[in-house]
């Protein structure tokens, strides 16, 4: 085992029921990680549908290898993953090890296209949030997407579009917002005693 924080054990037990046995058995590696929530900006939004997890992983990998050489590629090869991809909104969540996430993050601005040869989609990465857990990223993303809906409203051309967006805004601001708010409050009560940023670890 490489590293373990006392306050991480609880999280790990929740996410990895086999965590304890992992520790008892062979020396498993436990890594603290950082999640980068990035927006993939493309000129034509229809091109977003072409995005795949594998293609994004390859694009990030080659950008890291180009900017930081074999050293960077080696750091990237352990513990990095595309955790989440939303092809509709173009939001990607990348997981890096905490010790090296800044180095790997610095390579992201050098990505200018995604996809295999011949079907390249020109784009750039815009990092919108850095979180310690998937949960904090999800909370941020819900808030962010809601803001995006409000921003969408003035750009609607037809009445039907406007109506649709308005309906979406209403649903998320009433039922869903209340539900998440309730959940947030519950969470705050749970970990009220903890200080600092939440972290979760991965077992490799």
């Amino acid at each position: 085992m490489v590293r373990l924080k006392a306050r991480c054990v609880r999280t790990n037990k929740l996410f990895f029921p086999c965590f304890v046995s992992f520790l008892d058995g062979c020396g498993a590696c436990v890594y603290v990680c950082r999640y980068l929530l990035c927006e993939v900006c493309v000129s034509q939004r229809s091109k977003l549908q072409l995005l795949e997890e594998k293609a994004i992983f390859q694009a990030v990998k080659s950008a890291v290898a180009k900017a930081h050489g074999e050293y960077g590629a080696a750091l990237f090869s352990i513990g990095s993953k595309v955790t989440y991809l939303n092809a509709y909104t173009g939001v990607v969540m990348l997981r890096f090890r905490k010790a090296f996430y800044q180095l790997l993050w610095s390579a992201l601005p050098f990505i200018n296209s995604i996809g295999p040869q011949g079907r390249k989609v020109p784009c750039f990465f815009n990092c919108i949030y850095v979180g310690g857990t998937i949960k904090t990223c999800q909370k941020f993303l819900v808030r962010y997407d809601r803001q995006q809906l409000y921003r969408m409203l003035p750009h609607c051309k037809t009445g039907a579009e406007k109506q649709e967006v308005r309906r979406a805004v209403q649903t998320c601001s009433h039922s869903f917002y209340k539900a998440t708010q309730q959940e947030d409050d519950d969470d705050d009560d749970d970990d009220g005693g903890e200080e600092g940023e939440e972290e979760e670890t991965i077992v490799l």
Binding site: A65, K66, A67, H68, G69, E70, Y71, G72, S106
Partner: protein, 123 residues
Amino acid sequence: MEEKSASYERVVYKNPSEYHYMKIHLVLENADTSISAEEFKYLIISGLKDLYGEVGAAIPFDVLTFDQTALSAILRVFNSGLVKLWSALTLTGSYANKPCAFRVTQVSPFLLALSGNSREMEV
């Protein structure tokens, strides 16, 4: 007249130098190969680029002296880039598709220290 006792002061010289100096020499398989100073520096930069990418290739360092016959040189590098430069030198393995190696003879924060080498001293 009472003699004033000598007072001693302990002076700790904390390294104020922002540079490190490295004395290195290049070992080529074919000893006849001649290499210019530009090619020598390019070899080091390409070694840095392989290992640390474009960010590594931008690490500032200078070739202060280069001896074309012995293929030895003195490099000056910022302290922050020393480890990267050293590791890139170690992992450089070929020049013009022929095996080669860099031997690091001396490393010091003071250029003067490279003027002599106690290991080669004959007493």
